[in-house]
Amino acid sequence: MKRSLLPWLVVAGVLLLLFPLVAEKFYLQLVTKIMILSIFALSLDLLVGYTGLVSLGHAAYFGIAAYTYALAAPSADPANVWLTLPLALAASAAAALLIGALVVRTSGVYFIMVTLAFAQMAYYFFHDTRVAGGSDGIYVNTRPDAIVPGLDLADDLHFYYFVFAALAIVFALLAVILRSPFGRALQGIKANEHRMRTLGFATLRYKLAAFVLAGTIAGLAGYLAAAKEGYVNPEMMAWHQSGAVLMMLILGGMGTLVGAVLGAFSYVLLQEWFSALTKHWQLLMGGFIVAAVLLLPQGLVGLPRLLLRRRGLRSVQPNDD
């Protein structure tokens, strides 16, 4: 599958690279946001689409990294990206390790509920305590300092390419990992965990590793989101966020990396469109989600197949059997 996709990926990459040349500021920022959410969606895809662990609390790791950045950033000067980014990733990874150790022993609906519950715990921790500004959140007045000469993250264009690089690295990394023995084991777990255990795989270990890896990558997205906006608040780890990223996966189609990115693009563009139509855009989004679940079981990635099948049916002659 990967082989036939490679030319398309290159085309998409080139388009994204060239996009800033034609885009005005608003769209530049929009696509930057979409790329950040693509990283977030990819991280959840690893968990849901490839390992079969439906987490409804993934936004927790997104938010924890964001808050780590905001708390670690000095009040006056720009934060050092090469110090704060690893710190934020470590924080997300640690949280994912702690929570993961508790939740990977559960499965099915329990897993869904406990991941949600722990994410809510994180949400309430930041919302109700004064540790990090409570419901008001924290402002970070400047973008992080990239230290590297010539790279100025305060410049939206530079930041765009910085995020693009992150997305490309994450995409490539996941593609490699999923083809490796470890990745194959994850997919085996999704297909039939019992069989994997019977074959001798210590599946708990693999699930925890996937959970931590996914949490860490979500942390990368959270860091970039916080760096971009200069503002963090508890809503970043609210379950609406967890639900939204899950929605991106179903929109794009889980179990494919491209689908995750497509889903992020579709979701954000949909959100922009609905918001422009009405201030009650959540109504439209909710309706859309319900329709998508009922009508698009494979997500957008499955749309070509769905359409082709329809067309194929119509062209079958009665004497073809």
Binding site: V48, V54, L56, L102, V103, R105, T106, G108, V109, Y110, I112, M113, V114, L116, A117, F118, Q120, M121, Y124, F125, D128, T129, W239, G243, L246, M247, I250, M254, H280, Q282, L283, M285, G286, G287, F288, I289, V290, A292, V293, L294, P297
Partner: protein, 285 residues
């Protein structure tokens, strides 16, 4: 004596939570559907209590009207949407019901607005029961506890002792067999779902006078219900009752003794239970 008040509060809160959680765990245990929108029904109940009691002037009139309306809503939802989820995997159930939450929240926002409202306690229950010379306890809260207990008892009797309950249990443990024996599974599912919605909405209605009516109440109660179902075990009403009471105590005493930790006390409790019983106290694999 202050402890007695806190104990009574814990029991009342726990029983109310049980009412909501019972619907959630039943719907999952019997139909295998995880319903994120369950908290929204609680909110809908509370807002129904507000609008209907404003219209009719009395909470007593609002209650039966509200129950009927929410049961009808449950039937319609089940027919239109939930019935399509029975054989699909949990991810789709989660997403579709998540979409429902967004829809309900926005509809509420459009129809009733985003303000916080209060609902008056009916006059006959507005008194307070004196406990000591200085302390007294609101009769209405005792009323809530009594009603929840009565409903819990009714649930137990219905499920364990009636034919309808037997049909429900049959449908839960072996749908194909039940169908081939002539039971109309679709009706059982529809009724169970409607009952779950009505229970949650009813809880919202009777809770409204003490907890007030505000936009985020559905989400708040939903998460707690999830914790209850996880701790108690999916499909177990007994587990839900015990877990709900545990949470009632943990939350109430948490707020009194350690206010900072109070909001996360409930999750810590869940974490501890999970360490030893990944399937909950009374859950079956």
């Amino acid at each position: 004596m202050e402890w007695l008040i806190q104990i009574l509060n814990s029991v009342q809160y726990g029983l109310l939570l049980f009412l909501v959680a019972s619907g959630l765990t039943l719907i999952f245990g019997i139909m295998g559907v995880i319903n994120l929108a369950h908290g929204s029904f609680y909110m809908i109940g509370a807002y129904l209590a507000f609008t209907l009691s404003s219209l009719t002037g009395s909470l007593w009139l609002a209650l039966p009207l509200g129950i009927a309306l929410s049961a009808a809503l449950g039937l319609v939802l089940e027919w239109a949407l939930i019935s399509r989820l029975y054989r699909r995997n949990h991810l789709y159930q989660v997403l579709l019901t998540f979409g429902l939450i967004l829809i309900f929240e926005e509809l509420r926002s459009i129809i009733v607005g985003d303000d916080v409202h209060s609902v008056a306690i009916p006059a006959v229950l507005a008194a307070s029961l004196p406990l000591t010379e200085t302390l007294s306890y609101p009769v209405y809260r005792l009323f809530i506890s009594a009603v929840c207990l009565a409903l819990a008892g009714l649930m137990y009797v219905t499920i364990q002792k009636t034919r309808f309950g037997m049909m429900i249990r049959a449908a839960a443990s072996n749908p194909e067999m039940a169908t081939s024996l002539g039971l109309d599974i679709r009706w059982i599912h529809a009724l169970v779902f409607a009952a779950g919605v009505a229970l949650a909405a009813f809880a919202g209605m009777i809770a409204a006078p003490v907890s007030s009516v505000f936009p985020g109440m559905g989400n708040q109660v939903l998460i707690v219900c999830f914790v209850i179902v996880v701790i108690g075990g999916i499909g177990s009403l007994k587990g839900a009752l015990i877990a709900a009471l545990l949470i009632g105590f943990a939350d109430t005493f948490g707020k009194v003794l350690l206010p900072e930790v109070a909001s996360i006390a409930v999750y810590l409790l869940m974490a501890v239970v999970l360490l030893f019983r990944p399937l909950g106290l009374f859950g079956r694999a």
